[in-house]
């Protein structure tokens, strides 16, 4: 049976208990994390207070032979939005945590001096981290391995950004995988916690070993044959990029980069010096890649590769079509412990403010923020991490930075619920946009955004069969899109809680669906679950997050709108020319979305009926006490 360890860094108290009571109800990972955070953290606790919790978690499939079973989940209070944040990273940390005997680590309090946590074969120890405080992520990881005289421990750590409480700080696993969202690096920094280190030698048992392994092999064959796998194996998500692929340009002034995008395709990155394909733990897809650059301005760079968000953030959105530069920025963010999306949204805003003469050289420490200036971008990333000069403003995240600079700059700040936006093609893909906007962790496509829009083989028949939505493959229509998002919100919540990667799911083309996951889950736990049971838990998880946000921030319908620019300024060129998110259509979409969720249409808040149907009585009581529950007639 799995265990969870509660570590209070203020009192240095460590308590170990069984995790089954939580896992039974909410599966694991994100579900369990949400439930603990909801119950233990009060609305008046600020994200950087010692009272905030960080709940690192694995799922019931983590560490097993189920495909892509290496996902680590983190839930904490969101520094940027004030609500909840769940984040998810690959690499090899999560399975090692399972092998050390733990399902979850819950951190509270604040250490009096820098520490790191060492989990060694079931023992948990708080160790001094003064020798690595101030070091970047890569150096810290190396130094920890030297101190422990073991190259094979798994490490996650924060960099200078987290230490300096930068609001876009993230946590880096295995030097290149990020728990990125919601400033969770700053939460870890506020606890004076530099790193988590884990080493284990136990094994993970499943209830029905032979049935489970048979299921694994069957699905492995399915994954190997899938179109989605072939696509991702070739170049990960950057394989999508081609001359007609829509990318945000110059802080979303346009949604089409035209011919310039052909410079940052998978081939462009391969030419840089792709050394090998890389996979996270037990992943048949290997969407990642390792680069060793030998020639040119970025010679000497050795690092794991990137996904499409870095190409959007540092490439098209800053108008710099240079794969080497994008890789350098991505690596720098990994070293500093910065979240690519939030940093690039802040930079896009700053560059546009400079273009519109709202910011001048006087404000930016003498730097000229002209589009395309690579050295300025690199300099600013470092300034953000160390909160140096103008970087101190950008370190607050794009929303607060615009508040500091003032009125005119606000209309160029691209954020949703406090979180900077680095997303592709929101104006054209309506469900994609709705999923980003209604995401319970702030803005972000990894909550309810489907990836089916514009995909050729998602025909009306397949759309109907998988999601009950025949228009699932159409990009620009609003029809059926609310239903599609609701389906994916539940689905993603359960995938995150199982501890496996979203890339093996229906989300990417043609892979595993809810029935497959139900079979895996049943064979791992020995209890019979079908897809509907899991979907109900997924819906519960989403509703816990929604309630957390309502209680802690009061977010309501008015916050479920995209940034004004995406509603008012259409795409100027390319295949989606003229597309925008019209306000009246958006309002209709929201009405349908709230109805399908059984939430109140006027406020966007949860109803008495919705929470009773989901058996979330504890949530209902808390919302009612706060006056934020809508009682149905």
């Amino acid at each position: 049976m799995g265990k969870m360890v509660w570590v209070n860094l203020s009192t240095r108290n460590i308590a170990i208990m069984r995790s089954s009571i939580y896992n039974k109800r909410f599966i694991g990972g994100r579900g369990v994390g949400d439930w603990i955070l909801f119950n233990e953290v009060k609305p008046d606790t600020l994200p950087l207070d010692p009272g905030n919790l960080m709940i690192f978690g694995t799922g019931p499939l983590t560490g097993t032979a189920a495909p892509s079973s290496g996902r680590l989940s983190l839930v904490t209070k969101n520094v940027l939005s004030g609500g909840i944040v769940f984040s998810n990273a690959g690499g090899h940390f999560a399975p090692e945590l399972k092998y050390a005997g733990f399902d979850h680590i819950i951190i509270s309090g604040r250490a009096s001096s820098p520490v790191y946590l060492f989990i060694d074969y079931g023992k948990v120890e708080i160790k001094d981290a003064s020798f690595i405080w101030g070091k970047d992520v890569w150096d810290s990881e190396d130094a920890i391995k030297r101190e422990l005289e073991d190259n094979r421990v798994q490490v996650l750590s924060i960099g200078p950004a987290g230490e300096n409480l930068v609001k876009s700080a993230c946590i880096i696993v295995n030097k290149g995988r990020a728990l990125g969202f919601g400033g969770c690096g700053a939460v870890m920094g506020s606890k004076n916690l530099k790193a988590l280190v884990v080493r284990g030698n136990r094994s993970v048992k499943v209830a029905d070993p032979s049935g489970f392994i048979e299921e694994c092999q069957k699905n492995l064959r399915k994954i190997n044959r899938s179109i989605g796998t072939k696509f991702l194996r070739k170049g990960g998500t950057i394989n999508k990029i081609g001359p007609l692929f829509p990318l945000p340009v110059r802080n979303y002034q346009d949604g089409n980069w035209g011919k310039r995008s052909s410079k940052v395709t998978e081939i462009g990155f391969k030419k840089l010096g792709e050394k090998r394909r890389l996979a996270c733990f037990n992943c048949p897809i290997n969407c990642s890649h390792y680069y060793s650059i030998e020639k040119g301005p970025y010679a000497g760079l050795n690092c794991e590769g990137l996904q499409i968000n870095a190409v959007r953030g540092f490439g098209s959105n800053l108008d710099i079509p240079d794969p080497g530069f994008i890789l350098e920025c991505n690596a720098l963010c990994n070293k500093m412990g910065l979240h690519v999306d939030e940093v690039s949204a802040s930079l896009g805003w700053a560059f546009e403010c400079f273009e519109k003469k709202i910011l001048t050289k006087k404000d930016t420490d003498g730097l000229e923020l002209e589009w395309g200036r690579k050295e300025v971008v690199i300099e600013l990333i470092k300034k953000i991490a160390y909160r140096d000069g103008f970087g101190n403003i950008l370190a607050e995240g794009v929303q607060r930075a615009a508040q500091i600079v003032g009125e005119d700059s606000k209309k160029y700040a691209m954020y949703i619920k406090g979180t900077g936006v680095n997303e592709g093609n929101m104006r054209a893909k309506k469900a994609w946009a709705l999923g980003i906007v209604t995401s319970t962790r702030g803005g972000g496509h990894l909550c309810g955004s489907p990836n089916s829009e514009g995909v050729k083989n998602v025909t009306p028949e397949i759309g109907q069969k998988r999601y009950g939505v025949p228009t699932a493959g159409d990009s620009v229509t609003y029809r059926g899109k609310a239903k599609l998002v609701v389906w994916f919100e539940k689905y993603k919540a359960l995938v995150d809680s199982l501890g496996i990667c979203y890339f093996t799911s229906y989300w990417q083309n043609n892979l595993l669906g809810p029935e497959e996951y139900a079979r895996f889950f049943s064979k791992a736990t020995g209890k019979s679950f079908n897809a509907d049971d899991l979907f109900k838990i997924g819906q519960q998880i989403l509703n816990i997050e929604k309630a957390f946000n309502t209680l802690h921030t009061g977010y309501s319908r008015k916050d479920d709108f995209p940034p004004d620019r995406l509603m008012n300024e259409p795409v100027k060129s390319g295949p989606f020319k003229g597309e925008r998110l019209e306000k009246s259509c958006w309002n209709d979409l929201l009405d349908k979305y709230y109805t399908l969720q059984s939430w109140d249409m006027k406020t966007g808040w949860q109803t008495d009926k919705c929470l009773s149907d989901l058996s979330l009585n504890e949530v209902r009581v808390k919302l009612e006490k706060a006056g934020r529950l809508i009682i149905n007639d």
Binding site: G63, T64, A65, H92, Y99, W138, E141, D142, N151, R152, N174, K175, G176, G200, N201, R202, S203, V204, K205, V206, P209, S210, I213, Q217, L220, N224, K275, R276, R277, L278, A279, C280, F281, N282, C283, P284, N286, Y290, Y291, S292, N302, E304
Partner: protein, 93 residues
């Protein structure tokens, strides 16, 4: 698939048949470790596995260790680790 890319596991030199591994094909996913531990223990734990894969984050190289406990799965047509390797990075000499 060139022969020179395949390396003999560290501890298997005296075995009659050898499990070879291509460090250039391997992605470091460690599926083979899970398959092997399942073969030995009916559970999933790399420390029970005869094959171990380690990734060096500094240069992207993959290190490969084979323990003497490797029996090349006599109960199966091909060793289980080979059948789960999607990159075909393992083979018997």
């Amino acid at each position: 698939m060139t022969e020179r890319n395949f390396r003999v596991g560290k501890f298997l030199k005296n075995h009659e048949r050898k499990l070879l591994m291509s460090t250039s094909r391997c992605t470091g996913c460690r599926s083979c470790e899970l398959a092997c531990s399942y073969h030995h223990q009916k559970a999933f734990g790399p420390s029970d596995s005869s094959i171990r894969i380690f990734r060096n984050d500094k240069n992207g190289e993959i290190e490969y260790v084979l323990k003497e406990t490797c029996d090349l799965c006599p109960d199966k047509n091909i060793p289980f680790c080979i059948s789960v390797c999607t990159r075909r990075a393992l083979r018997i000499q």
